[in-house]
């Protein structure tokens, strides 16, 4: 075949437009032994983008603990996998779709959900739950309402149609996200542990198959956009947004799982960021083989698409597979039944190259190894974040019950019902703990066990003290899982930061990762998958550091679990753990004094583990069914959440001495509230005492108000109204 490198000469502008530095371009020329053509330049640029190559974070990500006896697959594949017993595995991952969601919130968020689900079913798992960690700008910022409404309808519209319940997540508002919202989506799936599918291509000569939707000119440069800083011009980049088709995704799940029940598939990979390029290169690289593609065979939605466009398109709902020889007809029949495109578009070769043809023309030929291995890796300079100053003057005292009302209605603590009611959180009929509690609980279909899941991060801690903040995010998911009675197994993460080329931002990233690593280590709670989203800045203004963590745990017996709702009048309520009334960096300071100041609360992951395991034992023995961890907002807020969830009042005893605000609203870590009938509580407290865990009775369930001895009471009705009204009001629905 005639060698042909069509297209224009590569200019300096083209190199810059592709986000490659001079040094990086030089590496391209070295890898090829010649100048690239435009298609090849495009391929290198997406493969070496931050999104695909992790060039700024790779050396730091390596420091995270990734192993445990129950880990089947750690980072490096489409998703992480843990053993959940009985021959079953849980497959899960979290991913960001921040930039696309800012530009077109509905489609951006929808395609984020679609993408993360594909990562999970690619591995042979049926998706069983979705979660979403959302961060928006200030509630009164001009774009916030539009963005919230678009993102929520996009997430709901996609997951609802596919029929996977959206069971949890988190939602925060802060001016630090005015120019860069965060949309992090997580999917959990379940697979037979002995039938997991990987992406390493194998078998020279084996056919390469394309299935799913046709390829159009969607999202070309999406991957590089996801790595480029915003400026005011970026609204112009709009047409790169992709449109999702959840109906096709549903068909794709069913078709893939049907084919996965046979022995036809050798390797499979979804086409995510950088579409055909990234999927084919990764499959070939992992298998140590070459791959040859014929672009004329690629199903196309539009006419006259160039090789560049086909290779870089980010059309959604597409997968690439390597089949066993001879399995094509059977596989084709499955995909045709589900009315999806199916095409043989290439084969595996032994020359270690990615060779792309369009008709008779060879449009790209690149050795695979350098495309992956020669990707630049940077040890970026970083500056440790300076320790926060001491807490400023406390300001005028606020009556605790007044502060409570304000906090229960503040955007970060108000009920998220307006959001989760737009998500089908019950489809598949296995949701046993709906949104609103500490962790969602989803039954493993057909068994008496369940998975618990939660996403968490407290960016105000991360900004004040990245190491503690990174650790705290991990610990909070762990605590949320424990609070429902689950054994925490592992986490996935989504590391959202600003521009890593700035040493102070890199310092936040390094700090957060260090903290995460310490917490994971201490809790035996490894990282099995994750995602990095950098350059979340607009006009030089970076987002607060936000390492969102998604935790997964296992409940062995569904009948031995807990939730936050108070269940019986007369139950005693006890505080497990202890605190000093730490007010630095709390929501209390922020919401009542407008101050984001002071040091972060102390955190000791080893101590967290001792306290949490003691609580978990109480739940696992079937004696404790009511539990809530204390986090944002502190003790009084946690107690109120329990009262509202159960529709029962609570009378709390105030401490005899000390600072009432610190007692009520301090965010000291490693604490839980538990409730049980008096006779049972005696035994629980005795067990805790025997384990050397501080615990003391602080109140009793009764009436229909929240009462704090000596400080008055507020009726549940009033608290509920304040708690429920905020989001609908913000969204103009009430």
């Amino acid at each position: 075949m005639m060698k042909n490198t069509p297209g224009p000469e590569i200019t300096l502008e083209m190199i810059a437009e592709h986000g490659l530095t001079d040094g990086e371009y030089e590496r391209v020329v070295n890898a090829l032994g010649r100048a690239p053509n435009l298609t090849e330049l495009g391929i290198f640029s997406v493969m070496w983008s931050e999104h695909c190559s992790y060039k700024s974070t790779r050396i730091w990500l390596k420091t995270l603990p990734t192993e445990a006896p129950w880990v089947i697959q750690g980072p490096g594949e489409n998703a992480g996998i843990v053993d959940i017993g009985d021959g079953q595995a849980a497959v899960f991952k979290m991913e960001s779709h921040n930039h696309p969601s800012f530009i077109e919130p509905r489609e951006g968020a929808a395609t984020g959900v679609g993408g993360i689900m594909r990562d999970v079913f690619t591995m042979g798992a049926r998706p069983v739950a979705n979660l979403n960690a959302l961060r928006f700008g200030a509630p009164d910022h001009a774009r916030t309402r539009h963005l919230v409404s678009g993102v929520v309808s996009g997430i709901g519209g996609y997951g609802n149609c596919v029929g996977v319940p959206t069971v949890g997540g988190e939602t925060e508002f802060h001016a630090g996200y005015n120019g860069n919202i965060l949309v992090n989506a997580m999917t959990v799936g379940i697979a037979p542990a002995d039938r997991i599918f990987y992406s390493a291509a194998a078998g020279i000569g084996n056919p390469v198959i394309y299935v799913g939707s046709k390829t159009g000119r969607d999202g070309i440069h999406g991957a590089t956009m996801a790595s480029a800083e915003f400026d005011d011009e970026s609204e112009e980049k709009r047409p790169t947004v992709q449109i999702g088709d959840p109906f096709t995704e549903k068909l794709l799940i069913e078709a893939c799982l049907e084919l996965m029940a046979t022995d036809a598939i050798v390797a499979i990979q979804d086409m995510g960021a950088a579409g055909l390029t990234c999927s084919s290169v990764e499959m070939a690289d992992k298998g140590g083989v070459g791959i040859e593609l014929d672009l004329d065979a690629v199903p196309q939605r539009e006419s006259a698409m160039t090789a560049y466009e086909i290779m870089l398109s980010e059309s959604q709902e597409r997968m690439l597979m390597v089949l066993r020889p001879g399995a094509e007809d059977m596989a084709r029949a499955v995909f045709e039944k589900w009315e999806l495109d199916f095409a043989v578009i290439g084969r595996l070769t032994d020359d270690g190259r990615l060779t792309v043809r369009q008709g008779d023309v060879e449009v790209a030929t690149i050795p695979v190894r350098p495309l992956v291995d020669d990707a630049p890796i940077y040890d970026r300079p970083w500056q440790p974040t300076p320790a926060p100053a001491a807490l400023a003057d406390e300001g005028p005292a606020v009556a605790p019950m007044t502060a409570l009302s304000t906090l229960m209605a503040c955007p970060d603590l108000a009920s998220r019902r307006w959001i989760w009611e737009q998500y089908d959180h019950m489809v598949m009929a296995d949701t046993v703990e709906r949104p609103g509690g500490d962790a969602a609980v989803v039954r493993v279909h057909g068994t008496a066990k369940a998975l618990a899941m939660s996403t968490d991060c407290t960016p105000r801690y991360c900004r004040a003290a990245p190491e503690m903040g990174g650790a705290q995010a991990v610990v909070e998911t762990w605590r949320n899982l424990v609070a429902v009675g689950a054994r925490p197994l592992a986490i996935t993460d989504c590391l959202n930061f600003g521009n890593p080329e700035r040493p102070e931002i890199m310092g936040q990233l390094v700090g957060c990762i260090k903290g995460m690593a310490q917490a994971c280590e201490a809790l035996d709670y490894p990282v099995v998958s994750g995602n990095v989203s950098l350059y979340n800045e607009t006009n030089g203004q970076a987002i607060p550091p936000t390492p969102a963590i998604g935790g997964l745990g296992l409940i062995a017996d569904l009948d031995k679990r807990a939730n936050i709702a108070l269940k019986r009048d007369g139950d005693l309520v006890a505080l497990v753990g202890e605190g000093i009334g730490h007010l630095g960096q709390t929501l209390y300071r922020r919401e009542l004094f407008g101050a984001e100041d002071g040091p972060v609360p102390a955190l000791d992951p080893a101590w967290e583990r001792r306290v949490g395991e003691a609580v978990l034992r109480l739940i696992e023995t079937g004696r404790l069914d009511t539990c809530h961890d204390i986090s944002d907002g502190g003790l009084l807020v946690a107690a109120t959440e329990m009262a509202l969830a159960g529709g029962r009042g609570l009378a709390l005893e105030a401490p005899e001495e000390g600072d009432i605000a610190g007692w009520a609203f301090g965010e000291d870590q490693a604490r839980y509230l538990i409730a049980a009938p008096p006779a049972v509580m005696d035994g629980l407290l005795a067990d805790l005492q025997a384990a050397d865990i501080p615990a003391c009775r602080i109140g009793q369930v009764s009436g229909d108000a929240l009462t704090l001895e000596g400080h008055g009471h507020i009726s549940l009705g009033e608290l509920r109204a304040a708690h429920e009204a905020t989001l609908p009001r913000l969204m103009g629905a009430a």
Partner: protein, 80 residues
């Protein structure tokens, strides 16, 4: 004055609705159907001194609300 606004997905933007409707029509035995596009339609009454100013206002409405210009094109017709 009366305005009509036609809104269609931009060329090249995935249009799963039109695809599904096309398939369903074929399934009902309607053959010989070529390209099929599905769009949105608004019809509104508005006060305006002349057609040009009405058009300008409706175009402004499209830019700001009626159309999602990231993925849609619009066309305004003014009837006097």
């Amino acid at each position: 004055m009366r305005a009509k606004v036609h809104i269609y997905p931009k060329p090249g933007v995935l249009d799963p609705q039109a695809k599904a409707v096309g398939n369903a029509l074929a399934g009902l035995g309607f053959d010989g159907i070529g390209e099929l596009r599905q769009g949105k339609l608004f019809e509104l009454e508005l006060e305006a001194s002349d057609a040009a100013s009405a058009r300008a206002r409706v175009e402004d409405m499209c830019e700001r609300l009626l159309a999602n210009t990231v993925i849609e094109n619009y066309r305004v017709e003014i009837e006097e």
